[in-house]
């Protein structure tokens, strides 16, 4: 094992992600990082800081403002033997690259009858909560989860930030990693002997018996805080972190509801036809008789996210709104 693997310490989500990228580049020459300002600037969230100095401009490539071209170039490079990590600065700008992701990355393997797989990893920051207003506050994970041919993962813990990338790079197909911008500064313990984690199952982050809080990504800390608060009110909440949105671990979703019979879905994305809808729908299909209360969804309000702090807070899921919804379904 390399020294990177054997340290036991608390790290930030940002450091964990950087360490994962560095390790991948040390271990496999085919891996390179490409995106806007990943090099000299050090990454707009400082994730790739120092990597240009360590690996040079061929493997840490600053790109022009050309989202369609450099994402498409990542697909082409993957088709031709490389293992690119393409960073799209934020999901908001990925709208400019959707044609490449949906019409090429997602389709090439099936459409070519199995000849051309696309071993590409795309990383992007996502989410709201920093008062950066409507055009910079999208949460479109649900959109990506709609598309067959790609995989969508949402590391919410420092450990997943550290270890999901290696598994994503080992995957022969396109994997999109959503990093909620509010998680970069969160701290966590890294296990002494860490190792790659799966990217297709959900995890119970806190066991409980009265109500299930099903969530992912940037909303996990809020759900955990809500569970803490609910505990003091005598409500035992189980918190399920989906980790992967495509494939979706419906087994785990059904299991937690079979355990608690009451569910609140927490999703920073918009409610209508988003990720929260799929979770609710899969329960309506597979576990409707398990439900002792109607499903509740706590999502972003169906509005563009405003700049002012109080309005933005009102637009997003908050610990208080999660707690209120949980108390309601728990019948308190």
């Amino acid at each position: 094992m390399t020294d990177v693997l054997t340290q036991n310490r608390t790290a930030t989500y940002r450091e964990a992600m950087r360490e994962a990228i560095r390790e991948a580049m040390q271990q496999d020459d085919r891996v390179f990082l490409m995106g806007e300002d990943v090099g000299r600037y050090g990454g707009c969230y400082a994730v790739s800081k120092g990597l240009l100095e360590e690996f040079g401009p061929d493997r840490v490539r600053d790109t022009p403002l050309s989202e369609a071209a450099f994402v498409g170039a990542g697909i082409g490079a993957a088709l031709a033997g490389m293992r690119p990590i393409v960073e799209v600065m934020t999901v908001n700008f990925s709208l400019l690259a959707l044609d490449q992701i949906v019409n090429n990355a997602a389709l090439y393997l099936h459409m070519s009858g199995g000849q051309f797989n696309v071993p590409l990893v795309i990383r992007m920051a996502t989410g709201a909560g920093r008062q950066v207003a409507a055009q910079h506050s999208h949460s479109l994970e649900g959109w990506y989860a709609h598309i067959p041919g790609i995989k969508v993962v949402t590391p919410a813990t420092v450990e997943d930030a550290r270890w999901m990338l290696a598994t994503a790079l080992a995957d022969p197909d396109p994997v999109i990693i959503f990093e909620h911008a509010n998680l970069y500064n969160t701290e966590g313990e890294l296990p002494e002997y860490g190792e790659p984690v799966d990217i297709d199952t959900a995890r119970v982050r806190r066991p409980g018996s009265d109500v299930s809080l099903i969530t992912y990504g940037g909303s996990l800390p809020k759900a955990l805080a809500a569970a803490e608060e609910l505990a003091t009110a005598g409500i035992s909440a189980e918190v399920l972190d989906l980790r992967s949105l495509r494939p979706l671990d419906t087994k785990a979703i059904v299991a937690t509801v079979a355990n608690t019979h009451r569910v609140v879905i927490v999703d920073e994305g918009w409610k209508t036809a988003g990720m929260s809808a799929e979770i609710a729908a899969s329960l309506a299909e597979q576990a409707v008789w398990e439900l002792d209360a109607p499903i509740r969804r706590v999502c972003a309000a169906e509005v563009p996210i405003p700049y002012s702090r109080h309005m933005e807070e009102a637009a997003l899921p908050q610990v208080t709104t999660i707690v209120a919804a949980a108390e309601e379904v728990a019948g308190r």
């Binding site: 000299r40 022009p64 950066v132 207003a133 169906e302 002012s308």
Partner: protein, 323 residues
Amino acid sequence: MSDEKHPLDLLKGMLRIRRFEERCAQLYQQEKIRGFLHLYIGEEAVAVGVMESLRPDDTVIATYREHGHALARGMDPGLVMAEMYGKVEGCSRGRGGSMHLFDAGTRFYGGNAIVGGGLPLAVGVALAERLQGRDGVTAVFFGEGAVAEGEFHESMNLAALWHLPVLFCCENNLYAMGTALGRSESQLRLTLKAASYQMPAWEVDGMDVVAVEEATRLAVESVRSNGGPHFLEFRTYRFRAHSMFDPELYRSKEEVEEWKERDPIDLLRERLEAEGILDEEIWSALEAEVGEEVDAAVAFAEAGTWEPVEELTRFVYSEAGIS
């Protein structure tokens, strides 16, 4: 206007932006302003010179680095500052913040924070003006970084193909965040690129407000008289960081200092002093007036109120409804 008053107006226009933004930087430290804040300091001559050459019925579309454009266009500094405070009295009800200033009154169509995202809008506004038989010009501002975007290419071609009254104002400050022009463009002469759309394109010293105004006046005359779209590259420089989070690892202090030698305010100030149009007294008066305006803007913002949370869902759709 008198030959003396006008240059002083230009100077005051730039000074207003400078002092306004210096205050914004302080207010950001005090967390009165949040989110992203992109300062225009060093580039004031461009916005001031261009706006001087536009009419009230012309249209302006800008980027997220648009405080200077908003003020130069004549928007009330109080409304702009209140917006950055997130107050409901702000020009966008506090919903847009620094990156999304809007003002229908001065035909200031935002405040667009997607690089290149305002360019297609400008083509459409110009098309609407043409189809409605008006002779308004649409001026759209964007940085040199936007030139690499597909939306730039498509918009330039469409405007030229349809011979539309668009003034493309490229603010070439040499960097897109940390990416120098040479790492972003294979062709460094942006005007050659623009010319490849059959569009007249001029390079202009963006630190010389008089040169900016002169070039823009001629370009606007041509655009307004159905000469088709026009591309202006303003060579300028951003004195401050890209945003408040930028450690500026990508450029040297020396480079920044060199450019500060050509501070657009100092340049005009010295020239006017040499010409005897400006003296210490007038300068202090300008400073005083601008200082009062900024103080008034801050006071207005401070006195502002928060939009009621119940109004969160207002304006997702028009209240008028289907007509």
